[in-house]
């Protein structure tokens, strides 16, 4: 009895205390939150200030069936809210003056930097984005060729949200492997590395259709944007950093009378550094496997000599892509491949002497590219459709 009374009193007391003191501090009902799906950072017209654009999902509209809405002129399922301010944090907070709901970032899928802001350096903005517990590290980092806010306004047909659209474009990159996909964690890893240069996806808005499309890779030196890789160079980069999933390589047929398209099905690569006589030498070994996807020439490519020659052409094409990327990287003097880290891991003693002068070393490193590629299958047909 004694014990029971004590326990009951404690429990009731606790419940009352809980009701009283915890109240509703961190309680937020779903309909008091504005879910941000994309964040764009632009330079404001006023010097030294930035303009933040957040894309907020309207859950009601996104779920409502199209027919029920007001037809074509119905309201958009998102709301882009813009605010000018000094720092990211203060600007985010200032947005609550315009939005009746609290901005909520954990479901943010893309972070877009405009080109001009990226050229000035992104570290100062990244800090908030990794310090605040609301942001997740799996958001994609994208650089817009022009203004970030424009990207968030682009037209989408299948996806309902521009930000979601971009995230899905990035996820679908593996079909071509011609654009890089970098999330916050990877970007941060590169940013914190002493030698490796950060990269990000590059996005452009087509002037006519107002649609967004990925066009390559933005390359940073330290935290400042220094240049871009086009699609070929990007694939060259991805070959080296082992990020190729799939893609189409177009080569000319051995008889030279048309093109053949080869589909990459598997690829892997290794960076092997070597220091000999105070010279850094790097060997990039790429292994790839592919299919014959289509041919536009009339030649019977499944004959052994033609097949072998096709394989050789495939290797050559890969090699040229890698070399193109390498050339661009040297030109920008940005170690996008992570050669420096590779050397560091293998030669940790010597590294201390090299570390600080890596910028001088990098453009002059000797790089050997070894490509070993195979063609495995030819699809449903073995010969082009032509009369025998």
């Amino acid at each position: 009895m004694q014990k029971f009374r004590k326990n009951t009193v404690t429990i009731i007391f606790l419940l009352i205390v809980m009701l009283g003191i915890t109240g509703c501090w961190n309680r937020r009902e779903l309909d008091t939150l504005a879910f941000v799906s994309g964040l764009g950072i632009d330079k404001a017209r006023e010097p030294g200030k930035l303009q933040l654009t957040a894309q907020i999902i309207k859950p009601g509209e996104i779920k409502a069936p199209e027919a029920g809405g007001g037809g074509m002129g119905g309201s958009k399922p998102y709301w882009n809210i813009s605010q000018i301010g000094n720092t990211v944090f203060s600007t985010v907070r200032a947005m609550t003056l315009k939005s009746n709901r609290k901005l909520f970032f954990p479901h943010n899928e893309v972070i877009i930097f405009s080109q001009d802001i990226a050229r000035e350096g992104v570290r100062k903005y990244i800090d908030f984005l990794i310090r605040d517990p609301e942001f997740r590290r799996l958001a994609w980092i994208v650089v817009a060729k022009d203004k970030a806010s424009e990207v968030l306004e682009t037209k989408t047909e299948l996806a309902k949200l521009p930000a979601r659209n971009i995230a899905e474009l990035i996820k679908a990159r593996s079909a071509t492997s011609e654009v890089s996909a970098v999330n916050m964690q990877e970007f941060l890893t590169r940013l914190m590395s002493k030698t490796t240069a950060p990269i990000a996806s590059l996005i452009e808005v087509s002037a006519k259709e107002k649609t967004a499309q990925l066009t390559g890779t933005a390359v940073f030196k330290d935290d400042k944007l220094v240049g871009f890789l086009n699609k070929t160079e990007t694939r060259g980069l991805l070959w080296v950093i082992n990020e190729i999933k799939s893609g189409i390589i177009t080569v000319s047929c051995p008889d030279g009378k048309g093109k053949a398209s080869l589909e990459i099905i598997q690829a892997s690569s290794k960076i092997k550094p070597e220091i000999k006589d105070n010279d850094i030498h790097i060997t990039v070994e790429v292994k790839a496997e592919g299919h014959l996807g289509s041919q536009m020439c009339l030649e019977d490519l499944t004959q052994i000599p033609a097949w072998n020659s096709l394989e050789k052409r495939q290797s050559e094409a890969i090699r040229s892509e890698v070399l193109a990327a390498l050339k661009k990287a040297r030109q920008l003097n940005a170690d996008i491949f992570g050669f420096g880290e590779a050397v560091h891991k293998k030669y940790s003693r010597l590294w201390k002497d090299i570390e600080d002068q890596w910028d001088e070393f990098f453009p002059n490193i000797e790089v050997t590219v070894k490509v070993e590629s195979k063609l495995r299958r030819s699809g449903l047909t073995v010969k082009p459709p032509r009369p025998e």
């Binding site: 606790l14 003191i21 915890t22 501090w25 961190n26 990794i130 517990p133 997740r136 590290r137 799996l138 964690q185 941060l188 890893t189 914190m192 590395s193 880290e341 560091h344 891991k345 293998k346 940790s348």
Partner: protein, 366 residues
């Protein structure tokens, strides 16, 4: 007897493992060593096995006696009491430190707008209810909680295999020896050396002779889990690891398998809390039982709530900010614990051997 319960050797093993994992799952030990932290943990485990040997030898020499009674026997009633008071302070302070760490974790990451006192009170109440039920109950909960934690640690590790970059562990031992020793030493004092509180618990072992193997096994079990967690964090986070306040939490946040198995951090949060509960409970229990023995009370139950309240107060007062906390943890704590973790136990053992203790006659006088 203040405590009627008896624990089996396997329960002691699980209790030690859970205790050692305690707060070290959120605050990774050996961080100073950068990407060699896992080696520092291993080294810490190795040296702590030696220290644990001192503890267990001491405990086996005086079967059925807690640290308080051992101190009385070895150092006599006056000096012994003084040393006991020192130890009680250490347990009490450590408990409030861990309490603060966990509450900070919740406030910092999940409940930014809630005052810290809420978490302090609720965690303390939970531990108090366990302490009131005695060591037997704490030991029983430890089995289940440790099992769940081990499963969760391995599960999160497996889910992160995709994101692991084992080259992040290279180059091995890429730091000055001095720094590595410092990191290993830090790993020894936190968490392994804190097992000194088990001198209050081993006395209730069913078979005191099994103390050595079960303590060793418990430490190794915890060590393995910590190394697994450490390797996981380093290989996933790479160079970004050192900037994080809670690296395990951050690593788990990166789990993303097909957009479905993602956002799983609540699992680790649950585990953190469970392990923290074990650690605080054992320390809390040690403090309460020790105080009761010191004051010659018939039951320790009346002490549970007052000491709990003091613990909450100390938790609030000891640091103004997490920055002070980190400073204390890294720069002061490793030296602060020297007498408690190594000095006094070693000295006790030497004195006991020299004086030929325990003498049969001495035992009767308590």
């Amino acid at each position: 007897m203040l405590e009627k319960g008896k624990i089996s050797s396997s329960q002691l093993t699980f209790l030690i493992a859970g205790f050692t994992l305690g707060s070290s799952l959120i605050l990774s030990p050996g961080l100073v060593a950068g990407h060699d932290a896992w080696l520092a943990v291993l080294a810490g485990l190795g040296s702590s096995l030696l220290i644990a040997f001192i503890y267990t030898t001491l405990a086996v020499k005086f079967p059925g006696k807690t640290l308080v009674q051992i101190n009385d026997i070895i150092f006599g009633p006056y000096l012994g009491k003084l040393i006991t008071i020192g130890y009680l302070w250490y347990f009490f302070h450590l408990a409030s430190l861990v309490l603060r760490n966990f509450s900070d974790f919740f406030v910092g990451l999940i409940y930014p707008e809630t005052p810290i006192i809420v978490f302090l009170i609720f965690i303390t109440l939970t531990c108090a209810s366990a302490v009131r039920n005695g060591i037997e109950v704490i030991a029983r909960t430890s089995i289940i909680l440790l099992f769940v934690t081990a499963c969760a640690t391995f599960l999160t590790t497996v889910l992160l295999v995709k994101d692991m970059e084992f080259t992040n562990l290279l180059p091995v031992l890429d730091l000055p020896l001095k720094q590595f020793i410092k990191a290993s030493y830090a790993a020894t004092t936190f968490p392994f050396g804190e097992t000194v509180v088990f001198l209050m618990v081993i006395a209730f072992l069913e078979n005191t002779k099994q103390a050595k193997p079960s303590v060793t096994l418990g430490l190794i079990l915890a060590g393995i889990l910590l190394v697994v967690a450490s390797v996981r964090n380093i290989s996933v986070l790479g160079v970004t690891e050192p900037i994080h306040t809670y690296d395990s939490y951050q690593a788990v946040r990166l789990i993303n398998i097909g957009e479905i198995l993602t956002r799983l951090e609540i699992i680790v949060v649950g585990n953190f809390l469970a392990m923290g509960f074990l650690k605080i409970s054992v320390l809390y229990y040690g403090t309460v039982l020790g105080t009761a023995q010191l004051l010659n009370l018939r039951s320790y139950l009346p002490l549970v709530l007052p000491i709990g309240i003091l613990m909450v107060i100390l938790s609030i007062l000891q640091f103004e900010s997490t920055i002070e906390n980190i400073h204390f943890a890294f720069d002061i704590y490793p030296y602060y614990v020297i007498p408690f973790q190594f000095g006094i136990p070693l000295f006790s053992l030497i004195v006991a051997v020299v004086r030929g203790l325990p003498k049969k006659a001495k035992e009767g006088s308590k």
